[in-house]
Symmetry: C2
Subunit: 383 residues, 2 copies
Amino acid sequence: MISIIDYYTTQFGELWDKSLSDLIEEALKGVLKNSQLDKKQIDAIFFGNMLAGVLENNLHAPSKIAEILGVNIPIFRVEAACASGGIAFHLAKNYLDANPNKTILVIGAEKMTDYSPEETTSALASAASGEEQEAGLTFPGLYAMMANYYLEKYKYNEEHLAYVSFKNHFHGTLNDKAHFRRKISVEQVLKSPYIAYPLKVLDSSPISDGASVVVLTNNQVLVKKNKNQVKVLASEVATDTLSLNKRKNIDEILATKLAADKAFAISRIKRKDIKTAEVHDCFSIAEILAMEDLGFWKKGEGGQMIKKLSTMYGKNGDLIVNTSGGLKASGHPVGATGIKQIGEIYLQLTNQATNRQVKNAKFGLAHNVGGSGGTAVVTILGT
Amino acid sequence: MISIIDYYTTQFGELWDKSLSDLIEEALKGVLKNSQLDKKQIDAIFFGNMLAGVLENNLHAPSKIAEILGVNIPIFRVEAACASGGIAFHLAKNYLDANPNKTILVIGAEKMTDYSPEETTSALASAASGEEQEAGLTFPGLYAMMANYYLEKYKYNEEHLAYVSFKNHFHGTLNDKAHFRRKISVEQVLKSPYIAYPLKVLDSSPISDGASVVVLTNNQVLVKKNKNQVKVLASEVATDTLSLNKRKNIDEILATKLAADKAFAISRIKRKDIKTAEVHDCFSIAEILAMEDLGFWKKGEGGQMIKKLSTMYGKNGDLIVNTSGGLKASGHPVGATGIKQIGEIYLQLTNQATNRQVKNAKFGLAHNVGGSGGTAVVTILGT
């Protein structure tokens, strides 16, 4: 059995005084200190990062991490756009499936705020297809196409989308590591400027800096020593076309459905057993699609379900979603996001989530998406 | 047991009429056709690529590959500078160690010649440390520092280096997929222009396009059906500091030594059993250091050993090195290199190396390096 035995995250936000290396160093040394592990006990490191090559001519991170920690162990960088963190976790779990008695750090990090919005938006568009880039489509544009199609097909409107941001900003007020820690109203979302109709600024996750790391181990001595540990019951990946126009439906993310179905089958957990989930809300529409594609809500029900706010903390619903604040309020340093999601579930399942602690949560799920749905990772954790 | 059951490589060279996607598609479809495998028999794909993000704003390759092949399986992109291919292979092997009865494609690809030499050199420098980049050091400069130190310490001169290029260009004439297929003399190497003293143009591997892929499986039915298969006896990775100035010695690549020692220990193969090897000769000095650090030659002996040309095809030496032409003559599309090296050993061990076939080769080794030695992967294959 593979377990997460610790988690550390830096602050998420506009961290002007910190470089990517600073963030990586803080996270790695932070989690080693927290967990009272010596670096000599670490057998490998997996690192998820999307943009350092594009934005700052910064590749070959494995060697940079070896230098930061003063180690010569295997270190791997993986990239799958905004799913880089989730994929790093998946491959780290796989590494432990193959190697008994090992301990791994899985880190995701991204430094995004040192550049103009145009530079960052263009860099993020590198996860879209060449044709989409040439057509001038950025990710707000791609998700706007999905949102328009969904709202039209199921007869919803922009107000339904706005409830996602309203809920997640409230959750952000409860998470001191979140990028945004203020409430916003549905009206504020609706009055915010359009960036790609029907999506507005307040339907969109921000550009953030941050690094998050978990300690993953199948060393049962370490697991037993640690009172705060959760089991990795499944981590499943699926892919789909890069281009939206090659897909049969754009009111669903097929990769999410495939990964979720595999993860639930392997873990033998039922949807109703999941009490807390972090889903990939890069835009408000994305959380609605995610909840449907993960199988928590029926297709087309998402608009009315989100308006009921049953997934909001404090509403006594059966499943609370994005207690971290989600990408919307917690922030979206893309490589870090997949690890932060898993870390948030870890905190929930180990009763360390303080003022946003979901009660009686024995199972949780994290859902990380790359691009407009070309990659999806679904991770199920349990106590 | 994990086996390689097929290999395909595109031509390496300046392939003006082919995009990165074209190269990936040719390689993937080529190897499926060769091996008579249907895409439905493929369980996952690992992809090594360094520069597509930096050079052409092209990330999220897993989804692009899913689109090319029309599949929804797990696909992973890894990056470790010029060791991206070798690392992709290592993680693919690890994936099979964890999952019985699976078949994987491991592909490396790079598209480098659509850009100015300045753009490509600057992009490649992204695998050096920030301080090295700020100091104006590119990879020729970094390897030149190693070469100067080595030549001075062990009393060799530029002629010793030139023998590496002489040998590898001769090998290139025997490989119809090689970027360069003409002999060069030691005198020509010595008369070629300096790019970073003491390294000259003809001490340096070229900027190339290309894609290479192997089929890796632990499905024993598939292995038995295939007469051309080799076993993966070891694949080991080590890391070191990114910056040269943080290392104790610059006349060795410590990561190579550590990975090689582990690989030989795990495979229980002795150095003398290896009859054919592909080593990472991005610059002439790199092959000499590699031969020493891999344990084939003693430290400091490399200069005199290369001049004897015992590792040249046709000289009846005990170990023939870089029969593909090496990075120098076969070309160096960086993400593809690590896979092409493994593919060349596969061809040798299955007696498919035609006019460059090493006799009685039962064991072979591939050695792939990232940057100036921050990452090294050593793979040992056997029949």
